[in-house]
Amino acid sequence: MRYYFKIYRLFFKQYLKSLMQSKLDFFIGLFGCLFVQASGILFLYLVFEQIPLLDGWSIKELAFIYGFSQIPKGIDHLFADYIWLLSSQMVTNGEFDRYLLRPIPPFFQLLCDRVQLDAVGELLVGGLLVYISVSNGTIRVTFIGSILFVMAILAGAVIYTSVKLFFAALAFWMTNSFPVLQLGYEISNFTKYPTSIYPKGIQFVSAFIVPFAFASFYPAEYFVRNESFITTIIAEVCVALIAWVIAFSVFKKGVSVYKSAGS
């Protein structure tokens, strides 16, 4: 384990060096992510100028759900951003060969290859919204609550990474699975709002096929509405485990059939 930490640190240092080369790019990325978040919040704000409650939810509650859902997304974005490249180009140009030549598990190398600091934008906005929700009393802070909060966020991040890994691993068969991954990832945009506003079909897909709802709306419901702990947090952890097992075995299967397509 310590060995892996050491490797990760070494990769991270290299990455920071390359980042320092173009600080402007870092700020562009950071502001980009902040802007995307800000526009989502602005939309909610403008809508709530017109209505008091959306499907029974107040703006404070929605702000928490929105903020909460951005944190797992941000964590995944921070650590596992390189998965996007697996889906789009690593198989096509044979870059994946590199991973198979080293005595470290390929998935770990995938994580090592990039720390995407743009994600700070999502984490910042998510953290801020959660902080506001705590300070205005929408969320009550308890000891158990805080532990569950951390658990829910970690499980949520696992769900994000698993979904991405699953779709990206399809690239081993399709060479380029970027559009499929993009389509799957798009679902995460629905789940930052209460899923009850959608028709049953979309609710089902966002819960059980591409389970982003379990990384955002369902656990958030526990904190806002005191929903039963079993159907929210425990369910989320179970979904995260199942999603991870499926995604990782598809990834491993994919690695075993991988044929370098590059020159």
Binding site: S22, F43, L46, Q50, L183, F190, I197, Y198
Partner: protein
């Protein structure tokens, strides 16, 4: 070297020189059909999400009208916004960025054709393709749905013609704006980051996410002085018949005015930037 070639006045404005560029874009899209269709599904899906969100908003409200829209109008607004923005909004930034990064822009400068006209021809090709897949189908689907399920039909030939005219003007405004924005690629190579900043700002200011009437008054006044409302909001409002005939001419005139302004800006920017690229390449 490159600059000399540029200065040699070659007659570059003949149309037939540029049509192959437009055609090649269409052929390109046809070659990668699979990924293109998935991308289309992705976009259509997010339109439906927006619509469901609006439906929830309307069913939570006691008023049958919000921001001057009733439920059928907002349905039309959301989907026609997609129809319009999907075909007129052709992103150039990534393409310009790639050309700058891999240096192929230098080849473009040596050729006796104008880079901007080439991009414009390519945009037209892409627009035609995107009009067919899927804009026109979404459009027909929307009207059929409104007619069959909601029993509403309020289309007139003149309004469709005005919508298409205004959309074409939007297309040119978008193109010129994109061209100007794409010039940033000469200064930073991180095109992805700029793309998402631009897209999130544009999707708001052009009224794609939410009709501009939902904004506070001072913001609405401000939007009158910006080119963005002319890009998507105006054609969709014309289609909805929400712009009265006296305002209509004014709106279209404003679109034309923005084309002129952006054209001048783009010429000025291009002159500056071309000098820079010769430094980089040397």
């Amino acid at each position: 070297m490159k600059k000399k070639k540029k200065k040699r006045k070659v007659k570059t404005n003949r149309l037939h020189v540029y049509t192959p560029f437009g055609k090649s874009v269409i052929k390109d899209s046809l070659a990668y059909k699979g990924s293109f269709y998935l991308f289309v599904i992705c976009k259509v899906l997010s339109v439906f999400i927006t619509y469901y969100l609006w439906r929830a908003i309307f069913s939570s409200s006691d008023n049958s009208e919000l921001g001057g829209f009733n439920q059928v109008e907002i349905l039309t607004y959301v989907f026609m916004s997609f129809v319009c923005s999907n075909m007129v909004y052709i992103s150039m930034t990534t393409k310009i960025g790639e050309n700058v990064v891999d240096g192929s822009i230098a080849i473009n400068l040596i050729k006796p054709i104008s880079y901007k006209s080439k991009l414009f021809a390519e945009s037209i090709g892409e627009m035609i393709y995107k009009f067919i897949v899927p804009s026109v189908f979404v459009w027909i689907g929307l009207e059929v749905y409104k007619y069959v399920i909601l029993d509403e039909f309020s289309l007139s030939g003149i309004r469709i013609a005005l919508f298409l005219l205004s959309s074409m003007l939007s297309f040119i405004i978008y193109f010129l704006f994109e061209f100007c924005f794409g010039m940033i690629a000469f200064y930073s190579t991180y095109v992805w980051g700029m793309e998402i900043i631009k897209n999130s700002v544009l999707s708001f200011l052009t009224g794609q996410i939410i009709p501009l009437t939902f904004f506070p008054d001072f913001a609405q006044k401000l939007f009158n002085y910006l080119p963005f409302s002319s890009m998507n909001y105006v054609p969709v409002m014309i289609y909805l018949g929400k712009i009265s005939s006296s305002e209509l001419i004014f709106s279209i005139e404003r679109q034309i005015l923005w084309i002129l302004i952006l054209e001048l800006i783009s010429i000025a920017l291009w002159r500056r930037v071309v000098k820079r690229i010769s430094i980089l390449g040397g």
